[in-house]
Amino acid sequence: MGPVNYPGNNNELIKISGLEVHFAARTGFISSLISKNSSLVRAVDGVDFNLRRGEILCLAGESGSGKTTTGKAILRLVEPTGGEVIFDGENVLQFNRSRLRKFRQDAQIIFQDPYESLNPRQTVFSTVAEPLEVNHLCSSMEEKEERVAEALKDAGLSNPGEIFIRYPHELSGGQRQRLAIASALVLKPDFIVADEPVSMLDLSIRAGILKLMVDLRDKKGICYLFITHDLSLAWLVSDRIAIMYLGKIVEVGTADAVIKSPLHPYTRALVSVIPVPKKISLAGRTLLKGETPDPVNIPPGCRFHPRCPEAAERCRDEEPLYREVSPNHFGACHFI
């Protein structure tokens, strides 16, 4: 398992710099009349990372970390308010409508909820055929059927012809997620954002879907941004893991490095509470106090300091620099 190296000058497919997604928080009518500053939800607050062809990078964090928003911002399903997204040498944020449409053929997304992310009134066939129709990619019905069947087979749904006329509600959770994957695959993308693709599936089905994703990477060289809150899954499938907290990345490294020798206190706490299937006591785990604060009120200095078991004066005043601590292992903390 490992990133597939393609011949060519640039192995790097995506480079994100300083990505920001800020929303104006909704305030009541009266308060918007009274106070002058509208509060800002800084969901993604300056994120840098890159992704190579055929690589699986996991963006991990709790809810409120901004990981899903980051994934969607790269695809411009949510409009970023700052920063750069360079895809294959071009800046995605400057694409006009038609260029954006073409980009969407190269960069796809799989959603978390296999029950809600499929139109209940579309058959299996029309769900997978829709991307082809919308982008005018097929000249005949036969070609369309061929491509749809191929995508369904690639997604592990055997006997594609049989399920063409089925509806999503007639499929199981795992099959539905495969259908969603098929509809992303049919456009032959180079990059897929997988937003918690297995969190709503039963445990025994998860492995199958994850295996499928890795197989597709091995066979077709698709790279993934795998978004999850489950670090053990991240460790299993990713090449590299990036830990996010309150809109910023606090640590990045290879999967083994981040899980086995975490640098940042937040990562260390998260790793210590990773569930394992054996009898174990909760003592000896680093249980942080409280919960992730609202992105409207980001603490000054190091944003993790209110919950950090090792916080010091400096952490409150100064925001730590994001730097390479050991080869290919980056972190942002004063004490690493």
Binding site: N119, Q122, A180, A184
Partner: protein, 299 residues
Amino acid sequence: MNLPAYNKSALVVWKKNLKSFWLIYSQNIMGLLGLGILTFFALMAIFGPYLVSITTLTIDGVTQVMHPPTSNYWLGTDDLGKDVFAGVIIGSRVSLLVGLAATAISMTIGTSIGIISGFYGKFTDTLLMRFTDVFLVIPWLPLMLVMAALLGPSLGNIIFVIGITSWAGTARIIRSQTLSIKERPYVERARAIGSGDGHIMIYHILPNVFPLIFANTVLVAAIAILSETTLSFLGMGDPTQVTWGMMLHFAFSMGAVSFGAWWWLLPPGICVVLVVLSFTFIGYALDEVLNPKLRRRDQ
């Protein structure tokens, strides 16, 4: 690879949907009753006029006027000697046609405005909704009367008037549903594969509001038929057309009440009531079929 031709599959899908729909619908007694009554009147409207001799509607100076039912004239005659039974049969066609045509206009306007308004939101939404509010707020009957009076009593005008005064409620309901569907993940997915606004509205929003549209259409049709009857009864209708409303209009204005000519007064009125009732029953049944939460648990 041996694949089934999709064109054939589309038909199969259609038949499949119809079958499962009927399976549940047929369990609902109200729905079946409503459907039965409506079918009866539909058959009456389609085939009736061919079976009834038109000559019984001409004034021949021979037939007795205002005569109670006889073996020749099953529902008696009106003040000019015309056959009431024939009138009811022929009137059914026009009454139903006007109702359905007006409904079609109303639903088209209401659905389009509802979906566009809900989908785009912001300024478009505000603009369209304020426009809708105008039609919601002005009382329906006076508005209809004024427009009918201004435009003149022709069938086309009646259809037009009913159509453009009854779409506002539909627009609001559809907009509400659109707002909710717009946020579903599958709409976001549609964007992610490159769909434009129009495509999303037609292929994602519309099919999912369709159950609501269907249920709403049925009720609007009931209102449309009632509106035509009302307009005609109040004298705004087309006097050259035979409709149930016109029959009621003439019955009242020609003194059927004081004469006691129940055979002229009751039949058209009862027909209107039955048709409206059938639509209402069907509407209730559709609600239950299309909203799974209303069904009983063991269904």
